[in-house]
């Protein structure tokens, strides 16, 4: 247990997990829609503020798990309630807590039917998402990971668009089917580690190579579907298009990150040798995702679909950064997870705001609103620039680090930088599809529909978008504080990796022979 720093004081992480759940239960007793909205906003706002205490208590000088809480749970199977944060999870935890109040605000007028259940779903989601990022017991992790499907399914299936049934069922089946083998892998790890589900103890063990490969593949299936990586991405556009705005934001900003978080938290430390052996395949899948996502986004007429496919491309960059397995790449990947959460979340909010006015997600029916919505367009322009990694915005920093990591990967192999160069078209494509969307929405052409009746953003909507813009520029211009938060943990992760590298090369050699 030397990798843990126990939390002796206030159990802040537990409060973050259970406060939304308690709020969801309390919501059952509220009757008016407006009261439900305000109450949910207060609860998620309180969680957001409380999460800042985690940041204040966080020690950036250690790679160990911090603020750890440990309670016995199911003794017969040695399952514990163990939670803690480290440099990899803290940013995602904060992203989750900070984005939730804005999801509530974004649904203020968008959701008019069955408001109470909607808000309950949001709060239950928040509990599960926070829990997933801080769980240090594999069963706890798995329970929250799966339990999340129910509220998310309901969010899409009840408040979704015309094809909500198809989209929600596809989302549920895909994700569930993917994580089934994860469960088997967890049981294997439990049996091999003296019947313990404690995640840090599973890391950096010398499992046999063949077993590692199987466990890695189980991890890969679960996480790659969640990310989603290239051949497993088909549920994403459907789910994004049909989900209500808040659902899309949660999906894009947080749920997708769980896949990449899973890679970092589980696949790399638990199956290091298999990771090294299989990384080239994952890298090329990432490249495929980047280019495929870019080209498909270029052809979309539906704004939500466009952003959804752009997510496939952006998440391809993240997995690229993770699997180049060097400090620059991994740090860039984590930063890019946060960036994608901010930028894509904001873009979905923007589309939602147009949708509330025109009741259409078609690009053609939103052309030329620039003239009548100057404030909106300002925001949209910033987020679009950020989406394709314009210098000065957050994604530039992340993508730059990832591509630098990819070059370093190629250099380390002493070869022509094929990998890094292969990812470049993705960045170009991103500029093409985002600018195309931006151009149409702002100016359009000669046959724009009459948009003169459209009202610009109201105060609530401006309040929702401003913090996103703030972070876009902050991370874009001064990313160092964010990198400092994760640096120690990433460094530690990769140092451990070095130690296993020689093993892996030998094992991979044996495999080839």
């Amino acid at each position: 247990m030397d990798q843990l720093l126990f939390n002796s004081g206030f159990p802040i992480l537990s409060v973050l997990i259970f406060l939304p759940l308690a709020g969801a239960v309390a919501l059952l007793f509220l009757n008016s829609d407006q009261a439900c909205r305000i109450f949910t906003l207060v609860v998620s706002g309180a969680v957001a503020l409380l999460s800042l205490f985690v940041l204040a208590d966080f020690d950036t000088a250690t790679a160990r798990f911090q603020l750890v809480e440990h309670h016995r749970w199911i003794e017969a199977f040695n399952i514990n309630y163990t939670i803690g944060v480290d440099g990899i999870s803290i940013l995602l935890l904060l992203l989750t807590t900070l984005i939730m109040p804005f999801c509530v605000l974004a649904s203020w007028t968008y959701i008019t039917a069955r408001v109470k259940i909607f808000m309950i779903c949001l709060l239950v989601m928040e509990t599960a998402m926070i829990g997933v990022f801080v769980a240090l017991d594999f069963v706890l992790f798995y329970i929250l990971w799966e339990a999340m499907l129910i509220p998310m399914y309901l969010l899409i299936a009840i408040w979704g668009g015309p094809r909500k049934i198809y989209a929600s069922v596809k989302f549920f089946l895909y994700t569930l089917a993917g994580s089934i083998l994860l469960l088997v892998a967890i049981i294997w790890l439990y049996a091999t580690n003296n019947y313990s589900f404690f995640i840090p103890e599973m890391m950096w063990q010398d499992y046999p190579f063949s077993a590692q490969v199987l466990v890695f593949l189980a991890f890969f299936l679960a996480f790659a579907i969640k990310v989603p990586m290239f051949p497993f991405h088909t549920w994403l556009p459907a789910a994004h298009v049909e989900a209500p705005t808040a659902g899309s934001v949660i999906l894009a900003s947080i749920l997708l990150k769980m896949g990449t978080y899973g890679f970092l938290r589980f696949a790399l430390p638990i199956t290091p040798e298999a990771t090294i052996a299989l990384a080239p395949y994952v890298l090329w899948l990432s490249i495929a995702g980047i280019i495929y996502g870019g080209f498909t986004a270029l052809a979309q007429q539906d704004m939500k679909k466009l952003i959804a496919y752009s997510s496939v491309g952006h998440m391809g960059f993240v997995t690229l950064g993770i699997f180049v397995l060097n400090v620059r790449g991994v740090e860039g990947a984590i930063l890019q997870m946060v960036n994608h959460g901010i930028t894509t979340g904001a873009l979905f909010l923007c589309v939602g705001m147009i949708y509330e006015r025109t009741h259409s997600r078609e690009l053609l029916s939103a052309t030329g609103v620039g003239k009548y919505m100057p404030v909106f367009i300002t925001f949209l322009a910033f987020f679009s620039l950020s989406s394709f990694g314009f210098p000065g915005t957050n994604s530039f920093v992340g993508e730059f680090m990832i591509i630098a990591g990819a070059f370093q990967f190629d250099t380390a192999l002493q070869r022509f930088p094929t990998l890094a160069l292969a990812s470049i078209p993705g960045a170009v494509l991103a500029a093409a599809y985002m600018l195309r969307m931006l151009q149409k929405i702002i100016w359009g052409g000669t046959n724009n529909p009459d948009q003169s009746w459209i009202k610009d953003l109201n105060l609530r909507e401006i309040v929702v978008l401003t913090p996103f813009l703030f972070f876009v520029l902050w991370i874009g211009l001064g990313p160092q504080p964010f990198i400092d938060l994760m640096h120690c943990s990433v460094d530690h992760l990769l140092q451990q990796f070095e130690a296993h590298q020689n093993h892996a090369i030998a094992a991979a050699g044996a495999l080839i022979r």
Binding site: A76, L173, L176
Partner: protein
Amino acid sequence: MSFLPELTLLGVSLVFFLLSLREANGKQLHAIAAGMATLVLLSALISLKSEGELFFKAYQVDYFSQLFKVLIALGTLLVILFCDRHPGITATVQAEYYLFMFISVLGLMMLVSSVELLAIFVSLELSSFAVYIMVPMRNRHSAAGIQVEAGIKYLLFGVMATGLMLFGMSYLFGLTGSTQLAVITEQLNLSFGQPAAVVAIILVLAGFFYKLAIFPLHFWVPDVYQGSANETTAFIAAIPKLAAVALLIRLLTLVNGETEAIVGLLVVCALLSMFYGNLSALVQKDIKRLLGFSGISHAGFVLVGLLTLEHEGYATAMYYIIGYVFMNLACFLVICTIATKGENVAIEDFTGLHKRAPLLAITLSIGLFALAGIPPFVGFTGKFFLLVNAFKQGHILLVVLAAINTAIAIYYYLSIVRVTFCTDSEIREPILVGGRQKILSLLLIVIVIAMGVAPSPFLEMTSVAIQAIM
């Protein structure tokens, strides 16, 4: 004292026998039945801690049997409370209906205590024959004849299974010269290598595979589930399965030494049950039929725990079947409540349920998600523990295939939730949900969540129970 629940049941049955002699109105009968069932539950609770042997060691009273008796009594009480007038049961035989229900419960309670082959046989038949009669008691308005077909099918398949079991029992007796399970265990230890012993045990198990609806003996399930009145199906789907698991555990303790053949067979049965049940359920339109097929696959899961042949596996199998009873009853509560005329319920009939009866919609969804094995409900923890135990015994392929089955199953459960929550219907009328149904709904929801979130006390309980017989 140790025979108190059975005596109470006997008395209750007599009361209903007398009541059946005169005209009585349904409401009054129901009130009496509910009171009586409560009495039975209380008597089972009182004798929970008692221990002893009765009837020349044919009848064993221990924590294991008493715990099952409490569960059987609790399940019966819940089923009786589901609806106060039985719209699906012919009006003139309502007293008889309760009579046979209580006799069947009596048989099941005797079954879980029986440790001698003849006692097992007699108790099993007592409980089965009563249910054979309950099935065709459904009235003609709600079922246009299929209840008779169901009754006959149930009877014929049941008799066949009994025949197999008796055949196996004769082998056991022939091999060991005794009908006492304890003696048989000892004697079989000496002669276990013989194929005759394996065949004998498998044949005896078959009788209970029938009750639990394990693959080759599952044929009765869909038709009987569909043909019986809703409350009868709720009873059949839950209560006898408890007793069947109890007896399977008792019988499997016979197995030691050469176990490969039997375990292999159980693995095959478990897998076939899961795949057959889940794949067939995918295409069902009638909710009871669907739950019947899902029941087959769940029986396969229970078998995953039993085939480990060790203490923890049995304990989790027991935990799982208890959880299954409550998840299943949650679904049946909704079915019984929305079928106001006792008719069969198609999945379509749940259209717009979230508007017509929000609490029922939530109860149904939680029951279904739990059956599907989604955390944090008991279905997940149960399946997870079963898989962990099977993995510890080295059944890796079984674990993988069982896990894949959960993924198949989710589709049909989800399609019901979808109809419940995502459809609006102006044509269908709202459903009146009485105060009692509301309380039952909340109770079942709480149990399903509590057993999933805090399984420790329940596991402790089942573990102690298994300890009592090992």
